[in-house]
Symmetry: C2
């Protein structure tokens, strides 16, 4: 999770939303990424999506051995991607800032662990406090 | 749907998988795209994802007025993205080649229309027949 938090901080330094993710197979990081909605003027580059894209095109058997670490609960899009590639386990930093369809993931066999980390919540709280218009504009797009 | 099929054919010409999509608001095409998994060595650029990305960052109220036309039933990832942005209506060319989580979309209030078009099925059948190894490798990644 520390590495996912490092990715979140990278995004913050770039002027982006501080959400990060890493993909781990056999205790080795094979992909890492962070939210780039602002940096790339993107609608699809959430932290988890950027991470899975950066991992490259893995075989099905590899995805099935992976754990996705993400600083925030995965949204509908990222959850769908987790299901598409049958990633069996997701460890999240928190789900207080936003909460994705966790029940749907669980119903479909994904193991979810919420570490409920103060550091992950604080980094988002601070970002939202400093950039309320940016955050509100992003939230407006999905509610 | 004709425009989505034009996108699918564009992909085919580029050596890619022939799946295309267009996003329509108030009877006007505001985004278009096609599957670029092969062209961009990507894991996330399905036709619908490419289309939504190319539409740019719309406001929430705009997504809620949109219809997404796609030549093939949306997969878990694309369905999640449809739900994230609350696109209320999806028109698909077919769902025989692959079928996404259509019940989940319907349960979440998305209107689905399947045109079951021979042209959409034939373009995929022909691609798979000509490129069985490519297709099998892509399918292996998600089963």
């Amino acid at each position: 999770m520390n590495e996912a938090i490092i990715e979140a901080k990278k995004s913050l330094k770039e002027g982006g939303i501080p959400i990060g993710a890493v993909l781990v197979e056999n205790e080795e990081i094979i992909g890492r990424g962070h939210n780039r909605l602002l940096q790339k003027d993107s609608s699809i580059l959430h932290g988890e999506m950027d991470c899975i894209e950066n991992a490259g095109k893995l075989k099905g058997e590899d995805y099935k051995r992976c754990i996705l670490y993400t600083t925030l609960s995965p949204c509908e899009m990222c959850s769908g991607t987790i299901l598409l590639y049958k990633i069996p386990k997701v460890v999240m930093g928190e789900n207080k800032t936003l909460k994705g369809p966790e029940d749907y993931l669980k119903e479909n066999g994904v193991e979810l662990i919420n570490l409920d980390l103060k550091e992950c919540k604080d980094i988002m709280k601070e970002f939202i406090k400093r950039n309320p218009e940016i955050w509100d504009a992003e939230i407006d797009r999905v509610i």
